[in-house]
Amino acid sequence: MTPVGAVATIGRLCRITRVTWLSELLEPGRMVSTAIQVGSQVFLTACLWTALYAHTEVSAGLQEHQAVGYAVLAVLASRLRPLSRDMAPDSFYRHMREGTILYWFLRPLPPHRYHLVRALGDQAHGLLWVLAGYGLCTTAGVVPLPDGRWTLPAFLVSMFLGQVIVYQLSLILDLLCFWTVANSNALHVSHFVQSLLSGAFAPLWFFPGWFTTANSFLPFQSTLHIPLSIYVGRIPVNRVPREVAVQAVWCLLLWLITRTLWKRAESRVAVQGG
């Protein structure tokens, strides 16, 4: 690809990512309700955990500010990939149901790249909300600032890998649409499972030993639990390389799975035709 072509492609990709932004921006009502929803959830979470720690110093290795920080950040992070996209008219699921998925394979942009670009747009849009929320929460003292020199960089690396894994998991779920008649209830079930196993409902440190052991064989805790634990300092800096390595292995494994599934999907579309 020539430099000119590369710039043009990037420009095109940027414009594609804008789609989600624009539709959200044009609805101030929706933004207000989103802000209120996130705000109230963060508020309740903070109050809840503060009240729980009223008579306790340390529990499951977490101090109060660590637990509150973890829980609030988990709420914010769940905005990065909101479920609401499933209800949007151009979600993958809808495309499958109505057959318009065919157009993805007819465009000059390969379908997996298109999917990735749209997802980046969504995630970037969610990121704005997260950053705004983060700014507010740290100012209010609800979320502690990271201490130690290496905490923040380690957190950023871990978070990035975690988001890659999130994308890959949702991609696998989307791709399964090619083989099953997926429905919204299945999506709800999977959403719950993911939230539970990644620590979004309650920090995983509080769960019984057998649960956490079993969970360590699954990729879900790499999405949220590891990065947040690094951030609040529950995972000391010397153990970070090991955890990040585990995340990287999951990334690789999931990437292999998604590649195979895409290939199978393409051949299936070719067979089934219009």
Binding site: F43, A51, Y53, N183, N185, A186, F192, S195, F207
Partner: protein, 277 residues
């Protein structure tokens, strides 16, 4: 004579509601996998409360002056009333979808009250899941609380569950009035309302700052759903913003609010303008 006709009409209405509901259930059973998953999804949706409750019980002595058993009681009363709401009124918050699909106009052409048709138009299998979780939590709460169950308390509990369902129905009905005019905007707020009621309704409001807890008692009557009835049952009144007498009247609040909401709804329904061209 008049009494006999009134009785016959009520029986007829009940039978019709039953027939409509069984028709809708049969329609749902057409998609068997989705049906089963729906029940599962309902259980899991509420089970997030269970998760938190488990954490709470195992690791912490209590919350905001309430023992862990007390918190479980609040959560289970809330879930029980939500399950009753789910059986009787749940479709009220789907009004925006009904309007957008044009179904409301079909309802207007039938000799039945529109509110009843809206409420009966779908059956939510999730409700069974809600009920299962609610009963589980309630039994957990009972085991941890050493409560003496007087007949008064049992009656009050039942009334509170029904009252809580009526409050939730009242709030959702009032919001759904907006769906008659701007269905798309209402869809977002309906989700938010649902979410707020289920998150804030499960916990003792004493953990929130006074201003917020006041909002959730006097503006959005969340406190009357489960928190205040649980306060009456356990005798824990610190942190509630209302005196004991008013807490005792929580079920009445449900009835009053529901009637007011229905009035508002009927008023708005008369001014319905229709959709599209």
């Amino acid at each position: 004579m008049a009494g006999g006709t009134a009785l016959r009409r009520s029986v007829y209405r009940l039978r019709l509601s039953w027939k409509l509901t069984s028709l809708n259930v049969r329609a749902r059973l057409e998609y068997r996998v989705e049906f089963a998953l729906g029940i599962l999804a309902g259980i899991l949706w509420q089970a997030s409360v269970m998760v938190f409750a488990t954490v709470l019980i195992s690791r912490f002595p209590g919350l905001g002056g309430w023992s862990s058993g007390g918190v479980l009681l609040i959560a289970s009363i809330r879930l029980l009333s939500h399950a009753v709401y789910g059986v009787l009124f749940a479709n009220v918050n789907r009004l925006h979808a009904i309007v957008q699909e044009g179904k409301l106009e079909a309802f207007l052409l039938r000799p039945l009250p529109v509110y009843r048709q809206v409420v009966l138009h779908q059956f939510h299998i999730n409700t069974f899941g809600d009920l299962a979780v609610a009963v589980t939590l309630f039994s957990l709460a009972l085991r941890r609380l050493a409560l003496e169950w007087t007949p008064f308390k049992i009656v009050f509990l039942c009334a509170a569950v029904v009252g809580g369902a009526l409050i939730e129905a009242a709030v959702q009905t009032a919001l759904s009035c907006a769906a008659l005019r701007s269905p798309t905007a209402t869809a977002d707020w309906t989700g938010w309302l649902d979410h707020t009621l289920s998150t804030f309704g499960n916990y003792p409001l004493a953990i929130l700052p006074g201003a917020v807890s006041g909002l959730l008692t006097f503006v959005l009557p969340v406190a009357f759903i489960a928190y205040l009835p649980a306060a009456v049952l356990t005798g824990t009144y610190e942190g509630t913003l209302v005196p004991r007498e008013i807490a005792l009247a929580s079920p009445c609040a449900g009835v009053v609010l529901f009637l007011a909401a229905r009035r508002l709804w009927n008023w708005n329904m008369r001014r319905y303008e229709g959709i599209g061209g």
